[in-house]
Symmetry: C2
Subunit: 115 residues, 2 copies
C-alpha cells in the first residue's frame, strides 16, 4: 500500500491517538509486515474491514503529521543534536587540560541524553 517505514514512524508519534484495535492492526501491517489476509485471520475480522481500517488510519496519521509535524521536527532536531555532538567532539580534540576535558565529556553526556 505505502512506505511502511514512514507509517511505522508516524505510528510512533501519533499511535496513542488511535484506538487500541486500530493500533494493533496497524502495527501488524506496518511493523510486522503481515498481509491483510493474515491480519484478518488473527483478528477474526473481514479482509475488507481490515483494509478500510488501514486506509482510514493511514489518512488520519498523515493528517496529524500535516498539522503537528512531530516527525518533521523530530528529524530536524535530531540532525541539530548530532551536529552539536560533532562540534563538542572537535572541541575536545583541541583541548589538553584534563579538567576542561572532563567538563567537555560531561557536556557530551548531556547532549546524548537529549537525543
Amino acid at each position: 500500500m505505502e512506505n511502511h517505514v514512514e507509517m511505522s514512524m508516524l505510528m510512533g508519534f501519533y499511535g496513542t491517538l488511535l484506538t487500541e484495535k486500530q493500533q494493533d492492526i496497524l502495527s501488524m501491517y506496518y511493523d510486522e509486515n503481515l498481509s491483510l489476509a493474515e491480519i484478518s485471520e488473527i483478528t477474526n475480522t473481514s479482509r475488507q474491514a481490515i483494509h478500510d481500517i488501514i486506509r482510514r488510519c493511514h489518512k488520519q496519521l498523515l493528517e496529524y503529521e500535516e498539522k503537528l509535524k512531530l516527525k518533521e521536527n523530530s528529524i530536524r532536531n535530531t540532525e541539530a543534536k548530532h551536529s552539536l555532538l560533532n562540534s563538542i567532539r572537535e572541541l575536545k580534540e583541541n583541548i589538553s587540560d584534563s579538567a576542561c576535558r572532563e567538563k567537555i565529556e560531561a557536556i557530551e553526556q548531556e547532549i546524548l541524553k537529549l537525543l
Copy 2:
C-alpha cells in the same frame, strides 16, 4: 473556568487539531481573556453554545496532552537545554585559548538555535 495560561500553552501545541472556529473562540477566551458574553456577541453565537465549545475543547486539549505529552516533553527539553547552555558557559570561563573560545561560542549558538 480554569488555568488560562495552561490552556493557552496547550492551544499552542494542539490548536491545529481543532477547527478554525474552535481555535478562534478558545483564543478569545484563553489568550485575550474575553468573557463568554463578549465572545458570544463577537461571534454571533449563543452564550450557551460558546460555553459548550470551550468546555468540549478544553477536555479535548487535556486528552491530547495526556496521550502525546508535547507540553510535558517540551518543558523537560527546555530545562535540559538551559542546563546544557550553562555547562558550556562555565566551560568557556575556564578556557583562555582564543581559537577554542571561538569554537565554544559557535557551540553556544548551536544550542540557542535548539531552544
